[in-house]
């Protein structure tokens, strides 16, 4: 059982590493250059999957938080901690790659547009969740407070999005209605492949971080048994 898990993780690691190299090849060699925006458009293949992974991580956070509050099993708390941290990581990637693209496409680094603002607010909320964990007096308290904040934060994200969307909007809509020219098939294939790779990377990081958190728990309980050093 234990060995099986280890092997699965190693396989996941190997597959992700190989596919990541493939993704880099597809982004820089296979995908054609965009006519208007030029090479800077290629950042889209990292930016959008990171954003999708970030918001999926919020869903994981919601499920893990509710799971912890209803079962009180340490696994859910470790999962929610991992989802918060890795969500924050991908959120940072989104916030760094976005302005690099925006400076060349829109002429400004930042604009207070719906998705940008929502992502920034989400970054702040996730950081606040981690802060509360850090301040907590003990593990149980941190887990409980973080779970409550996880629920509040996850429910807040769609509301923030909707409200900023009403407030103002100019983000490019690549998919969905209102788009005249469809993406070139090579571009779409590259994008979908990158999306897959980013989800694999997310899953790998989530598994590893949850595992580390479980090991931290064991180390803590062992040191408590041995006389609290």
């Amino acid at each position: 059982m234990k060995g099986g898990k280890e092997i699965l993780t190693v396989v996941l690691l190997a597959v992700t590493a190989v596919l990541m190299l493939g993704a880099i090849y597809m982004v820089f060699v296979y995908a054609p250059e965009e006519r208007v925006m030029g090479p800077v458009q290629r950042i889209f293949y990292f930016h959008v999957p990171s954003a999708i992974v970030t918001f999926s991580s919020v869903m994981v956070l919601l499920v893990a938080s509710v799971g912890y509050l209803s079962t009180r099993r340490a696994f859910w708390d470790n999962l929610s901690r991992a989802a918060t941290e890795i969500g924050l990581l991908f959120c940072t990637v989104v916030l760094v790659t976005g302005p690099i693209w925006a400076k060349s496409a829109w002429g400004v680094w930042w604009t207070w547009e719906a998705r940008l603002t929502t992502t920034l607010v989400l970054w702040l909320i996730l950081a606040a969740c981690l802060m509360v964990r850090g301040y907590a007096e003990n593990r149980d308290q941190g887990a409980r407070l973080a779970a409550v904040l996880g629920v509040v934060a996850a429910l807040d994200v769609p509301i923030v999005y909707k409200s900023v969307d009403w407030w103002r909007g100019q983000h490019p809509v690549v998919f969905g209605p209102g788009k005249k020219e469809p993406l070139a098939p090579e571009m779409l294939r590259t994008f979908l492949f990158c999306l897959l790779v980013f989800f694999l990377l997310y899953a790998l990081l989530l598994v590893l971080r949850t595992r580390v958190a479980t090991l931290e728990d064991r180390a803590r309980s062992l040191s408590e048994t041995l006389g609290g050093r």
Binding site: L69, T117, V121, L124, I125, A127, A128, M131, V132, Y135, A136, E137, Q141, R144, L145, A147, V148, L149, V151, V152, A153, L155, D156, I159, V160, K162, S163, V164, W166, W167
Partner: protein, 237 residues
């Protein structure tokens, strides 16, 4: 041995009212929180008047500037009040006594929120006329809709403020953590508050911002329910 007959605790509304009345009575006798909030909000207003003097306000128009000034003032002073509402319990460790009360924990949340709402509303009753004086807009003709907008958004602000103040108090932190938690989560509330206040100051009818008002009402209800369901986990030891 038979258990002593249990006296049923008060119902939800009555319990919430008892908790709120207790807090408000303490506040009424000391005026500690309200005086701190009033002084702080005065300072914020004065600083804003350094930034935007009357000439600027007249040029840009009150409807463009005043909503932001008002909501920054309300939320900053609100933070002072929310943090105090659990600090008074910490002082004599009376939070344990409160938790032992024969009511559901959600009743404590409702009571604390009610007391905070009343305190912030009292502050707003002081700030609104003052801002009309400082920024030269006609408060009397806009009084009804403006009060409605301010109260609707203050309800949500007090709910989240109370919830996060409890979190901050549990980990022994004050205003800094409270602000870090409150401002991002309450951002839809602030956007809506500024939009609605601007519309009212522009002399538009409330129906022009009905979708914002509806969203805020939904926000108020949603977070009241979420807080009711989760508050016991925050207070748990």
């Amino acid at each position: 041995m038979s258990a002593a007959p249990r006296r049923p605790g008060p119902g939800f509304l009555r319990g919430a009212w008892i908790v709120a009345a207790k807090d408000l009575r303490i506040e009424w006798r000391t005026l500690e929180t309200l005086s701190a909030m009033v002084l702080f909000s005065l300072i914020v207003l004065v600083v804003f008047n350094f930034a935007f003097d009357l000439t600027t306000v007249r040029q840009v128009g009150a409807a463009r500037l005043v909503p932001g000034v008002l909501w920054v003032t309300f939320s900053f002073s609100g933070i002072v009040g929310f943090a105090r509402s659990f600090a008074i319990e910490r002082h004599r460790d009376s939070l344990s006594a409160l938790i032992l009360a024969p009511v559901d924990r959600s009743v404590l949340f409702a009571g604390k929120t009610l007391a905070n709402l009343a305190t912030v509303a009292a502050l707003e009753a002081f700030i609104l006329p003052l801002s009309a004086v400082f920024f030269d807009y006609d408060l009397l003709s806009l009084f009804g809709p403006l009060v409605l907008v301010v109260l609707l958004h203050t309800v949500g602000l007090s709910e989240l403020g109370t919830l996060f103040a409890a979190v901050a108090a549990r980990v022994g932190r004050g205003e800094a953590l409270l602000a870090t938690l409150l401002f991002p989560v309450a951002s839809p509330l602030f956007i809506s508050a500024v939009k609605c206040t601007a519309a009212v100051l522009d002399g538009k009818p409330l129906s022009a911002v009905s979708s914002w008002m509806l969203m805020t009402a939904g926000f108020d209800v949603l977070y009241f329910l979420v807080a009711i369901l989760t508050f016991e986990y925050i207070l748990e030891d």
